[in-house]
């Protein structure tokens, strides 16, 4: 299995480039992925019949990366509230297709940290067995060594896109993206290029719909985070050593309290002192990627953080004390709740909704499903002026287009290239604050949205294929197709524009209504 996957990666570029005819693409995608990558069009595909965004379309817009054909009919049957409950308990959702694709194609993402690093190929390495094949295609021995990094990041990026497109646990994937931004790590720094894969698995995905405090704890000792925010260099080996404050500051400013969360420069320094001694073994060492606490590098004196005393002599347990203090702080409650409301309600969320969400966050001690359940119950979430007005970020736009068109995709470089042009490729954001949420940052992306829409509609994206005629026939004609895309009946001008010569799906995906959710 491992060999076949790596063979796939090594050879896919050439093989996919060779299949120009649209009819071949579907078969090629199937051959490489192994199984179809779009759910079959089964069951009722009833499209929305209201002229405004109704409850069903609204929850699909906000809790998912866009509705697939058939989602609307299903939620109409079980009800929007039941759908929310389902999505808040992802472990109970059957997700066979997505799980199978990820397990089959991206086995390296499950490797332990030390195996994420590149290594010199030995005789047993499957890469060596593969080498004659690669050599025929012009690869050099040194490429073997370099390959791991590219494969890993490509894997992680493709897996992220495929999960967003395929998973039935849509809210979970939405939250994975939310926390990926919240605890942003750009893999282009140092050894993050290998270790981000572990962070994605063990921090973000492990806790995306779990408990916020557990997630902060996991992030604090994540090897990638120790690299990204320099925690691994934060030590006090001698009295003259000045702690590295980078992580301490971002822990409070970005991860927990918010920039005006009431901490001072003194607090930053004290938190940095508490975290001295935590480090990560680099790739030159045995047990590379392992996180360790070195007592000799720890400042074990007494500290005071946000008005709370931390006695001396706690050693590694300083970390737990610090995290208790910052995650239980009212500023943390308010900041996280505000960010969630900004994501799910509006760029400038009403205070009443933030307060309601905050109460649930505090009462549940950071339980994320409980907090979201309260958010989704606020009148502000359901208000008419909330519906259909949020500007999709480019990733959301691209994935929702793939979903609404029931596209098959292997998330190849060709697709990622569009995300890169749109300024929103996964794992490409440089600073610790993560991709911005508000529409104003994404205003300049329209041209590449339109180009993507045309390329998708015309089957010009390598490794991605749609069958519009089949979809239209199954869904019941043009009007129903438009309603399925927009989540409501098309307006007269939308319908007229869609029916003009040459318009079709490209226009629907590029239309203003599809830029919003």
């Amino acid at each position: 299995m491992r060999l076949s996957r790596r063979a796939f990666l090594a050879l896919s570029a050439g093989a996919l480039a060779g299949c120009g005819k649209p009819a071949d693409i579907r078969n090629t995608v199937r051959r490489f992925i192994g199984k179809p990558t779009a759910s079959p069009l089964e069951g009722a595909l009833t499209a929305p019949a209201a002229s405004e965004i109704d409850d069903i379309s609204h929850v699909l817009n906000r809790l998912t990366f866009g509705a697939r054909p058939g989602n609307y009919a299903r939620v109409a049957t079980i009800g929007a509230k039941t759908f929310i409950d389902e999505q808040l308990a992802p472990a109970k959702i059957t997700d066979t297709l997505c799980e199978r694709v990820i397990r089959h194609e991206f086995d390296s993402l499950a490797d332990p940290e030390s195996r994420l690093f590149p290594r010199k190929a030995d005789a047993k390495d499957p890469l060596v067995a593969l080498f004659p094949a690669m050599k025929d295609r012009g690869a050099r021995v040194s490429d073997l060594y370099e390959m791991k990094e590219k494969v890993l990041l490509t894997d992680l990026t493709r897996a992220t896109i495929l999960r967003a497109v395929l998973s039935e646990r849509q809210l979970f994937e939405v939250m994975v993206q939310f926390w990926t931004d919240h605890f942003n790590i750009d893999p282009s720094k140092g050894e993050c290029r290998w270790l981000k894969a572990a962070d994605d698995r063990d921090v973000i995905r492990a806790h995306a719909l779990g408990n916020f405090r557990d997630m902060v704890r996991a992030s604090a000792v994540s090897p990638a985070m120790l690299w990204y925010l320099d925690g691994r260099e934060n030590r006090r080996s001698s009295p003259s050593d000045k702690p590295n404050e980078n992580y301490a500051r971002e822990l409070m400013e970005l991860h927990t309290l918010g920039v005006h969360g009431g901490y001072t420069q003194q607090d930053v320094m004290e938190v940095a002192r508490c975290l001295t001694g935590w480090t990560c073994r680099d790739k030159k060492k045995f047990f590379k990627g392992r996180v360790e606490f070195h007592a000799k590098d720890h400042d074990d004196g007494p500290k005071r953080v946000l008005g709370m005393d931390i006695p001396g002599g706690l050693g590694a347990r300083d970390l737990d004390r610090v995290l208790e203090i910052v995650t239980a702080h009212p500023s943390c409650t308010k900041y996280i709740s505000w960010k969630l409301c900004r994501r799910f309600i509006s760029d400038d969320p009403p205070k009443s909704a933030v307060d309601e969400t905050s109460r649930a966050f505090a009462a549940s001690k950071g339980d994320i499903p409980a907090t979201l359940r309260a958010l989704f119950a606020t009148p502000e979430f359901w208000a008419n002026e909330t519906r259909g007005v949020k500007f999709k970020r480019p990733f959301h736009f691209v994935v929702s287009a793939l979903r609404t068109a029931n596209a098959e995709t292997n998330a190849s470089n060709d697709l990622t290239e569009y995300l890169r042009r749109l300024g929103h490729a996964p794992f490409r954001y440089p600073t610790p604050d993560g991709y911005p949420e508000e529409a104003t940052h994404w205003k300049s992306t329209l041209l590449w949205r339109w180009n993507f829409a045309a390329a998708l509609a015309e089957n010009r994206i390598k490794g991605t294929h749609i069958d519009l005629d089949e979809l239209r026939a199954r869904i019941g004609g043009n009007d129903a197709l438009l309603a399925s895309i927009f989540g409501r009946k098309p307006t007269d001008s939308e319908r007229a524009a869609f029916l003009e010569p040459g318009a079709g799906l490209a226009l629907a995906i590029a239309a203003p209504a599809f830029q919003r959710c």
Binding site: K189, R421, G423, T431, S444, W450, A506, P512
Partner: protein
């Protein structure tokens, strides 16, 4: 079509454009800007040293390579500032590593120019706010809000089978009020202006004389974008091939020609618009002071950086310089010979004042160049 004078979007109050030129391969600062009054220079380079009679003397100490002469006017007009002995703090001799460090702005995620465009309080909003001339996104632009990677103007276009898509979209977006409607109008305007540029042969202004090579072509495209007011805030370009281990003169003379001719034509072409345009020229490291047996030079440390236009205090050398006497140089354990020109001026201290000129404030600079205590050179009045 919008009036060609109207600015589409972006930095309305300050129409400023920053162009970054990267000389890949490690350009020899001692050939570009030879210290012709330093005897050590000719001792270290008996065959490759630029003889003072051929060079363009620019002050008591330095000259420009003869092929740099098209830039002499810019220097004498006070429009070109030069910093010698410039580079990164790390002494890696790997092109890849050094370029990465320089383009990321240290051991940092993303590129310094990308971060700059992202962290400012008013982030770039125009569809053409940032252009990378070439085939791929350079590392310095990683993390930028949007970048158009463009070899030709046709790369910035709406490509669809149906020729009607554009007018249909225009009709649909015309009904949009608010941000989305404005953004769409900006985009259509930019498309229209680019199409106008494509449809006619470009006539550079003021008799500017671009060369017939990719570098000049790229710069003339940027000049057109700047003049068309499409909201271009930053652009990047590469000029490759500076790794002159063998027969250096042959290897780089043509490159220097292209560099100087292109930049000089760009400056002439833009005329008064040069006051709001800055060009920075940089390279990952310089070359050994001493020539090698193959009439070449090897990977070294300090090189020179150039800042052109944009109100720079030009016509003078900026930053520290200590001459080439062996005891001043980086020796790397060498017992004899000249070693390397040390990095006396960190590249960030050249970039920082340029970024301030382009709207960065102190907090922005900390994000653009994290974990570095800046000591910006006084390049501006």
């Amino acid at each position: 079509m919008a009036s060609p004078q109207a600015l589409i979007t972006g930095n309305e109050d300050e129409r400023r454009t920053l162009v970054v030129v990267f000389l890949r391969g490690g350009a020899d600062g001692l050939a570009l800007v030879p210290p012709v009054s330093d005897d050590h220079y000719f001792k270290a380079r008996p065959r490759l040293g630029i003889r003072s009679e051929k060079a363009v003397q620019i002050d008591n100490h330095f000259a420009l390579h003869p092929e740099m002469s098209p830039l002499a006017d810019a220097w004498h007009d006070g429009d070109l500032a030069i910093v010698h002995a410039c580079g990164i703090e790390d002494d890696t001799r790997s092109h890849f590593e050094a370029q990465d460090l320089m383009e990321h702005g240290g051991v940092a995620a993303g590129g310094w120019l990308g971060r700059f465009l992202r962290v400012r309080p008013a982030p770039s909003s125009g569809a053409l706010a940032c252009v990378a001339v070439g085939r791929a996104l350079p590392e310095c632009l990683l993390g930028a809000p949007t970048v158009t990677v463009m070899q030709e103007f046709s790369d910035f276009s709406l490509s669809a089978k149906s020729p009607n898509l554009r007018s249909q979209l225009e009709a649909l977006y015309a009904m949009e009020s608010g941000q989305l409607g404005v953004a769409a109008k900006d985009t259509f305007d930019a498309l229209t202006r680019i199409e106008a540029m494509r449809s006619q042969k470009y006539q550079p202004a003021n008799g500017a004389n671009y060369g017939d090579d990719d570098f000049s072509r790229g710069l003339s495209q940027l000049a057109q974008l700047i003049k068309a007011d499409v909201g271009l805030e930053a652009a990047s370009m590469d000029l490759n091939g500076w790794d002159s281990h063998f027969t250096q003169e042959t290897a780089i003379t043509g490159l220097i020609q292209r560099l100087a001719r292109g930049l000089s034509a760009f400056r002439t072409d833009l005329g008064s618009r040069m006051a709001t345009t800055s060009v920075v020229v940089m390279t990952e490291f310089g070359r050994t002071i001493q020539e090698n047996s193959a009439f070449g030079t090897d990977h070294g440390r300090g090189s020179s950086m150039f800042v052109l236009g944009g109100g720079v205090q030009g016509g003078r050398m900026h930053g520290a310089w200590r001459g080439l006497a062996p005891e001043q140089n980086e020796r790397r354990g060498l017992l004899d010979g000249y070693g390397d020109l040390p990095v006396l001026n960190n590249y960030r201290d050249v970039l920082a004042p340029v970024l301030v000129r382009h709207g960065a404030v102190k907090e922005d600079l900390q994000k653009v160049f994290p974990r570095f205590s800046l000591n910006p050179l006084p390049l501006y009045a």
